[in-house]
Amino acid sequence: MAASAFAGGSAPPDRRVFLGISDAADALFDRAFGAAGNPLRQLGALGFLLFWIVIASGAYLYVFFDTSVHGAFTSVDRLTKEQWFAGGVMRSVHRYASDAFAVIVMLHLLREWVKGRYTGFRWFSWITGVPLLWLMFAAGLGGYWLVWDRLAQFTAIASAEWLDWLPLFGDALTRNFVAPEAVNDRFFSLLVFMHIGIPLFLLLFLFVHIHRISRPVTWPAKPAALGMAAVLLVLAVVQPVASQGAADLAKVPLRLALDWFYLGPLVFAYGVSAGTLWSVLFAATALLAALPWLAPRPGKNAILAPAEMDLANCNGCGRCVDDCPYAAVIMVPRHDGRSGTRQAQVLPDLCAACGICAGSCPSATPFRSEARLASGIDLPQLPVDALRRSLAAGLAAWPRPGGSGLVIFGCDQGVPASSIADADTIVLSLPCLAMLPPSFIDFALRRGAAGVVLAGCREGDCAFRFGDALVLERIAGRREPHLRRTLNRSHVATLWAGRPDFHRLTGNIEAFRASLRAIPGARVSNTMPESSSHESDP
């Protein structure tokens, strides 16, 4: 059976197709990289890595760069040819890391949209990402100007013509490039200043972008970092970047090998008009910025209210603050006058209503004798008291006295609870598996469950960032509140499965049942979840 209040949800209809594609891509990458090493789940961190690679390689190039009209081209060209093993490689890595940065950032944006991670409390992270796109584009364009080869000449003139469409410059910006004598050395000093300044703004916005999440992951797992570094080095060796001849403003470059990642929009402007490009970019920016408010509103029943603090049951331990993935809980001086301790305070605008704080509260233990289980911090619509009632009712209603089935605590982001429920199984789905206080496992086993399954979403893919890691640490006793140390853990299973992984999950549940049957004296039913109505695993 699946308890109604904890029956879980389903994928939002507006992005179901894209979610399917995303899940299939995740499954493919999981097979190759493993769930923990899947680069698709580390796109933000990979973006940071590439940014730092661009900065480091750029710093090396700057040492040798001559900020003058003639020196700009010759210094870069000489570095590329005479110091190919270091400067040449650095130049190529600088270029390809910039390109990879653009690709990874766009994939990151697309993935967060597909996963629906842009609405509600996430609006701040989403909207602060939009200026990053402009800064990334501006930083990339500026880099092409500096080399002062024929590609730089095209880029400088094309972007100046594009900028001149806006009535911002008193004189035409493009007049700086109408004749060889129009460009001077000071201009290159200005370019260098901008090419350093814009990435600094980019870095500033990156930190604003991650401001509202606690413990942001800004460094990918070592295998993904090494893999990305290897890609850049191989590209630098196989296809080293070279200049395309010195700029000559008396001639127009007729054909060019173009970096389409950054310079594609300029070609678009020549194809249509500078005004059209501005219109498209402004419209796209406005749409992106407005997306959190344009998204289909979930039904009234689907909206979870922010967590609420109950001062009478809060002892000021601060575990909810430690565990909240979005820094939505802070500690403040107590309001009830008790000195020496503090109390938790929920910041509703930042709250994801994931329930992780409820799972971290030491007062949320079902063994308490009160008729209504009240904890220090809780979700008003899915309180731990209702969880205890659902669990207790399910255990009491089991057909076999003493129980012989499984209690499955599921995750709304994983395999739908209703699909794995049967007569001999109690399935309780939570917004996030980390909402479960570990003492509920103990409670279920003491009340007759043969085993407890913690069925979370796909490993490393927690919709609330690190719920899976919190669960594992609590079960292992490395994090408070932890599972009773003397509890026989062979009656507990942790299984990770995303929405499409129904068969893998049910197969693993059956294997868990088999392992329980091997325990002397264990009472385990042979019931298997019905699978006929569920879609197949990929």
């Binding site: 493919l28 990458f29 999981d30 097979r31 190759a32 990289f33 493993g34 270029r95 390809y96 390109d99 990879a100 690709v103 095209f154 013509e161 001149d164 008193g170 004189d171 035409a172 493009t174 007049r175 109408v178 004749a179 893999g227 290897a230 890609v231 191989v234 590209l235 196989v238 296809q239 970047v241 403003l249 008396a250 001639k251 127009v252 470059p253 007729l254 054909r255 060019l256 090998a257 173009l258 970096d259 389409w260 070609v267 020549y270 085993g451 292992a476 026989n488 853990r489 062979s490 507990v492 299973a493 942790t494 299984l495 990770w496 893998r504 693993n508 294997a511 868990f512 392992s515 325990i519």
Partner: protein, 181 residues
């Protein structure tokens, strides 16, 4: 699956053999190929192979429209002492009319308005005209005073343009006006 009886049951991680490593290599290679290919390919043809470019670009303030007027004693009395200029001169400048004729046909003709809220700034223009390489005759007329009929500045040039050549039509008052280079 469970190493010891008192260990939490967990699904064994999928076995990642040579196929997984091969998969990683293929996926990384695809990513590298995407970056490597589109950072230089397809080549972009900015202009046709037999094209040259004529650019018109200058920033030139037209003549001031109107005459200065002597202020009367009454007018001066109403002005603060430190602002009492004897003459009241208009600020508005004339638009600059430009006409370019290439091989006997009009290539461009426009009247460029002065910039600024009071229309007291320079007239600024930047235009690019791709043309076929080869021999051309070019004529440029400019008038920077709306009170004068007809061109005030005129220049003709015989051009022999090789592919990719840029010819700039500029206006530099100190050098006699129209400059073609």
């Amino acid at each position: 699956m469970n190493p010891t009886p008192d260990t939490v049951f967990s699904a064994p991680p999928p076995r990642r053999g040579p196929a997984a490593w091969l998969g990683q290599a293929v996926l990384y290679a695809l990513f590298a190929a995407t970056i490597g290919v589109f950072s230089t390919w397809p080549p972009y043809r900015h202009l046709a192979d037999d094209a040259a470019l004529i650019k018109l670009s200058f920033s030139h303030p037209g003549k001031i429209i109107g005459e200065c007027r002597q202020r009367s004693a009454e007018e001066l009395a109403k002005i603060p002492a430190h602002l009492r200029a004897a003459q009241d001169c208009p600020r508005e400048r004339s638009p600059v009319a430009v006409r370019i004729v290439l091989d006997g046909a009009d290539l461009y003709a426009d009247s460029l308005a002065p910039r600024g809220m009071s229309r007291d700034g320079a007239a600024v223009v930047y235009q690019r005209f791709p043309v076929k390489a080869g021999r051309h005759t070019l004529g440029v007329d400019i008038n920077d005073d709306v009170n004068v009929k007809g061109p005030m500045y005129h220049r003709d040039a015989e051009l022999t343009l090789e592919p990719g050549r840029v010819v700039l039509i500029d206006f530099i008052a100190d050098k006699g006006g129209i400059v073609i280079r």
